[in-house]
């Protein structure tokens, strides 16, 4: 995207007539470059260095070069695989739910009814607020002792006594997914709505004249148009789900029984509970490479959508 756009603007640039004009672009780009470089180049080198050395804060004098031992220990560790499973489970549920919810919301927002106008006003709210706060809100809703969900279910007679939603592995995961969908869904909906709005209305009319029903219209007119955006949303939401941290921190603390200890949380505890910086850095690199792979897929999908 950037290459094409840059090439398109080249003719408007004029050779600077004065020395000040010649320095101008460098002077404007430099401050930004410095800040970004300070927090990109050095951290990368530092992280690789950490991962190749023994670095446990409880043993501050041992800093031997250990090669790939940190990576080996992390990969063969029991908790790594558990957290991978938790991550895969959470990410697949979350991505699926966010995409379906986002698609449904986008389809509703694209309708010419009064309710749709109302929905448009409020839809961005969950996206705009801190993830920490959405975690706090949902934790309080699902609370096993005083949560309002339990209260409502009790009043309507669905349950006889309060259910400790956050204390069972299965329901705790579901609670996290609900909170995640609530927070992330609006963004997916906005993206998909933008894609829906460029579908020429004549296509739907034509399909209708040809005798296509509601479902056929969606299946053969809407869906092909949405395919590229859907792919983007899926990849983007996968990255977001895998990198989830704030929600785990305030909602579950990784529990119960490590059911929600997804990989970002696991890296955090390696570093800040067990103070093993070498392990933490190795984990961070593994996670970083995995996410980078996804990002590259994302950019490729983005590029193919444009051409």
């Amino acid at each position: 995207m950037t290459r094409r756009a840059l090439a398109a603007t080249a003719p408007t640039a004029r050779p600077g007539s004065r020395a000040g004009e010649r320095c101008y672009p460098y002077a404007t780009v430099l401050p930004v470059m410095l800040v970004v470089a300070l927090f990109t180049v050095y951290p990368l080198i530092y992280c690789v260095h950490l991962s190749l050395h023994e670095n446990v804060l409880t043993r501050p004098l041992d800093h031997d070069f250990v090669g790939l031992q940190n990576f080996r220990e992390v990969i063969t560790g029991y908790y790594f695989w558990r957290s991978l499973c938790s991550t895969a489970l959470f990410a697949s549920m979350a991505v699926l739910a966010v995409t379906l919810y986002g698609l449904g919301t986008a389809l509703l927002l694209n309708q010419a009814v009064l309710g749709s106008a109302l929905l448009k006003v409020v839809v961005l709210l969950p996206w705009a607020i801190p993830a920490v706060i959405s975690g706090i809100i949902w934790r309080w809703i699902f609370d096993g002792d005083y949560g309002v969900l339990n209260g409502l279910l009790l009043v309507t007679g669905v349950v006889r006594r309060y259910v400790p939603w956050m204390s069972h592995t299965v329901t705790a995961r579901l609670c996290m997914v609900v909170a995640h969908v609530w927070k992330q869904g609006p963004l997916a909906a906005v993206f998909l709505l933008a894609a829906l709005q460029v579908i020429p209305p004549e296509l739907h009319d034509a399909a209708h004249i040809d005798g296509a029903g509601r479902w056929d219209g969606f299946r053969f007119v809407t869906l092909p148009y949405l395919k590229a955006t859907l792919a983007l949303v899926l990849i983007y939401e996968t990255i977001v789900a895998i990198a989830t941290f704030d929600l785990v921190y305030v909602m579950t603390g990784g529990g119960p029984a490590d059911a929600t200890a997804i990989i970002g949380w696991y890296a955090y505890t390696e570093i800040f509970r067990f103070l093993n910086l070498g392990h933490g850095a190795a984990l961070a690199i593994i996670l970083g490479v995995a996410l980078l792979g996804l990002v590259l897929v994302y950019l490729r999908a983005l590029g193919s959508e444009e051409t």
Binding site: P130, Y249, A284, E305
Partner: protein
């Protein structure tokens, strides 16, 4: 959109579905608002009191002034004593505002300057500098947590606003520059060329000709930068230690993970903390939506 016999029923169904989604979005906020107007005793009943009567502002009064409630039985005076950190909400909000407003201002000024150069000025290394800034954003946050801490420690900036502002600038600049340079490129170049021919410098052209045209883009970029800084949690947690620099998400996470917290007080904190991003999201809805769409789809 009249289609066949079911056309009268359909809008009703669609409206109902819209209301359902709106309810899902709004109900959690509504319950927080209700909780913040209730006493602790009403919230810890089974089932809770769904409509506190009469609603009370005692929770807010305590956060703002430290005034204890007149009705201790209703408010559970014991949990208030274990929830004294909520009194730190206002300083934490002040910290959040200072950091977020600084990040926003720096993004608008430096981000717009750099983005305009990337969009319209030809200079050596433009392409690689642009690519470098954009790819820097691909690094996941956890991966750089330890090095960031080390850098900030070495600069002797731990527990200061400046550390958070620097880190958030590194996070927000790439998006701002991408977003604004795309925006600038879509403006008509003829006016700028005329200004340059009339003897304006690049800077004057940006200030007098481009900035007024790009005002909606600048507003959206400013709002995104503000929200990113206001909402960020992980690095605020790592890089601050005391209320001298702790931002609102760090404080609220500490309050919320305290098992003996008063939920009514916590709810009042949440409502107060939600006001700035909530207002932004409602007031700048159009700008933000268009900005979000432009950031992926263009």
């Amino acid at each position: 959109m009249a289609r066949g016999g079911s056309s009268r029923l359909e809008p009703a169904l669609l409206n109902l579905a819209c209301l359902g989604v709106a309810l899902f979005i709004l109900a959690p906020f509504a319950w927080m608002l209700v909780s913040s107007l209730a006493g602790e005793a009403e919230l810890t009943r089974r089932p809770p009191v769904f409509v506190p009567s009469p609603p009370t502002l005692a929770n807010y009064a305590f956060i703002f002034t430290g005034q204890l409630p007149r009705d201790p039985a209703r408010h559970g005076i014991f949990v208030w004593q274990t929830s004294h950190e909520v009194r730190l909400l206002l300083p934490a909000l002040r910290n959040s505002f200072i950091v977020a407003l600084s990040v926003m201002a720096a993004n608008v000024v430096f981000g717009a300057l750099a983005a305009y150069s990337f969009a319209r000025v030809d200079f050596h290394g433009r392409r690689s500098a642009y690519a470098f800034i954009l790819t820097s954003r691909l690094m996941p946050a956890v991966a750089v947590a330890i090095p960031f801490y080390a850098i900030v420690q070495r600069l002797e900036l731990l527990d200061t606003y400046r550390a958070l502002i620097l880190v958030y600038l590194a996070f927000t600049f790439p998006f701002t520059i991408y977003f604004l340079s795309v925006y600038f490129r879509y403006l008509p170049a003829e006016v700028e060329e005329a200004a340059l021919l009339d003897g304006c410098t690049r800077f004057q052209t940006l200030l007098r000709v481009v900035a007024p045209c790009a005002a909606p883009g600048l507003v959206a970029a400013a709002a995104f930068a503000f929200m990113t800084a206001y909402n960020e949690f992980l690095f605020a947690l790592l890089l601050t230690q005391t209320i001298a620099a702790q931002t609102m998400p760090v404080l609220l996470a500490a309050v919320a993970t305290n098992p003996a917290v008063s939920h009514a007080l916590l709810a009042a904190c949440v409502i107060l903390a939600l006001i700035p991003p909530g207002l932004l999201a409602l007031a700048l809805r159009g700008y933000l939506t268009r900005g979000l769409v432009a950031s992926v789809a263009r």
